[in-house]
Subunit: 368 residues, 2 copies
């Protein structure tokens, strides 16, 4: 269980294809994991995700602990059964959301107290509690409880958050009781290369089934993000899957794959869709409400094989978004998620055929 | 074209089964037509409606004339092509919405001026314009432009509205140019039996392919509604389909079928769903947010074969509705619309087998 097998390597970069074994099936990497934050990838039925080739979805400890609670999900037979998804699930630990969504968060060595963003009730999340909740939810891959320092934090603050993340990881390991869940640590260290190196060195000293890079794509800017990736990659064990958290922009995904990243998650495909935005061939974001689309009979992308592009015109889609119709958000979500899942398939195929650069050029031939 | 053939009759009521021929296929009656007000039955893709056995959908002149305009729809190849629905469509004339949604409506013999509820722009809708718009949209069945008096209007006002409706119907016939669209007149007359009789007598003197009863289910109360139905039914030509406008409550539909009604439309299935409400076995409205559903593993209805009940628990559905997730509105819409389409199938089968009373008893054995 949780074996990672590498199949092909790109001769011109660190990119590789692999397969990762989980209790609910094998994940082919590089892969994208859509976010089912509250136990649903917004607008999709589970069988629709499967038909689109989605191999694994992500769900969130923070949201589910507030409503309906992990105890309830456990009582209903666990997350897979409750949401009717029989493929792998990864749950985030709640660490990131506690800081981005929780009110009046107070960080101590024990853990974090915060007030729910829904109704203000007080909660305490500790490494032990984050593991307990994730064991109750029952995902295949669970994440260590970490402290994600703000992008603009100074070195002293960021070092403190990193050290706490390291101490908390040891406690996560100690409190873990289920052997059918893979626990991934999360490298922190913000925008400080020395901290990133220290965090990568410390966390890779544990023999974990995979490892994640966190605290990126949190507002630090693209250059800083790539510097963090560059800094930690040499430390990551080759034989384990590398998960770049929160990155889902197509151009970024392609670039990160070339750095040797294997797994990605992001709310972008469905969030952009709900905001009337779709990806064109080269991954640019296009607003559906453009006046030019009023009478445009073409699909979003002529060559796209998604259920949206095969059936509907830009003219109709624009109308649906202007009218804020549910079907509009559904159809653009289908397009955007299909786009990203199809990109991952193309990336895997290209690595196999030693032509990953052709995909890179498609997304990086012009400035974004 | 537009031939109505009666197949079976219920020996104990005026109910009958029939088939109505249209350019986009045959409609088996009694039938329910879901509302695709703005060119989409909220949350559904067209192929999903077909898979559920939906034979015909309704769309609205009023909404489509404001956005995106009938000229645009015509330019895009007509409503069927634009929304990707290849089965029959019925368009309402805009008469009802001008009064219920339009601001500062002024009624003259020529037509109605009103201000758009979206941006306040001024419009004029006349019988001729309502027909022109419906010809541009290209539905199979189009409706006469009528004046629907408020439920609490006095006899003098209601008579004036009725007489205008009659004059407007003659103008609708005169301005109609397409032969591939069936024009149905709409009987008005409010809560006044003598006016209802006069309207039925006048409008049935035209040889139309079908006839509708309007100005019901507009707030007049159930007793008044059934009195209007009872009053006009003897006037309606047996060999033409009878359309009861705006009625979709399951118990009401069963009762109306026994009066000899053949066609129904209503926003209820999808509107109730968006308001977290589903129909149980006997057509009662149940709120999905009930606390008892928190840990209820059962489907909405144990014997229901819809995609919602076959896959998801009340517990999960309650969670989706509490979180206002799109999937919640989708799944309850599927259940409610399936419920009504399945009811129509059961009604047609029961009429064939002389046991329509068994369905009536299911919905009327207890007070609603």
């Amino acid at each position: 269980m949780f074996e990672f097998t590498i199949h092909d390597r790109d001769p011109k970069s660190q990119a590789r294809t692999g397969s990762f074994q989980t209790p609910h099936g094998i994940i082919e990497t590089p892969c994208f994991m859509p976010c089912g934050t509250k136990g649903t990838v917004k607008s999709f039925m589970p069988h629709e995700l499967k038909e689109m080739g989605c191999q694994i979805m992500l769900s969130n400890t923070y949201h589910l602990m507030l409503r309906p609670s992990s105890e309830l999900v456990a009582k209903m037979g666990g997350l897979h059964k409750w949401i009717q998804w029989d493929r792998p699930i990864l749950t985030d630990s709640g660490g990131f959301q506690v800081f981005s969504l929780g009110h009046m968060s107070k960080i101590k060595d024990e853990g974090v107290t915060f007030n729910s963003h829904i109704n203000g009730s007080k909660y305490l999340l500790t490494p032990e509690r984050a593991i307990k909740i994730q064991e109750e939810l029952g995902a295949d891959i669970i994440m260590a409880f970490d402290e994600c320092a703000p992008a603009d934090a100074d070195e002293r603050y960021t070092r403190g958050a990193m050290e706490r993340t390291h101490q908390w990881f040891s406690r996560c390991i100690e409190s873990k009781t289920r052997s059918d869940q893979a626990l991934f640590p999360i490298i922190q260290g913000g925008t400080f290369p020395e901290l990133r190196k220290a965090s990568a060195a410390f966390l890779t000293s544990f023999d974990t089934p995979g490892i994640a890079l966190g605290g990126v794509a949190v507002g630090e800017g693209k250059e800083e993000m790539w510097r963090a990736v560059e800094t930690v990659m040499p430390f990551l064990p080759d034989g384990k899957p590398h998960y770049l958290m929160g990155v889902g922009d197509p151009a970024d995904v392609v670039k990160a794959v070339m750095y040797g990243m294997d797994m990605f998650d992001c709310v972008l495909p469905t969030r952009l869709a709900r905001h009337a935005t779709f990806w064109d061939e080269t991954g640019r974001r296009i607003s559906m409400t453009r006046a030019a689309f009023i009478d445009d009979p073409a699909p979003l992308i002529a060559s796209c094989t998604c259920a949206c592009c095969k059936n509907f015109s830009r003219s109709y889609l624009r109308h649906l978004m202007i009218e804020r119709e549910i079907l509009g958000a559904r159809l653009l979500s289908i397009h955007n998620l299909h786009f990203l899942l199809e990109l991952m398939r193309q990336i895997r195929q290209a690595i196999k055929e030693d032509r990953l650069h052709t995909i890179y050029e498609r997304f990086h031939s012009q400035s974004h």
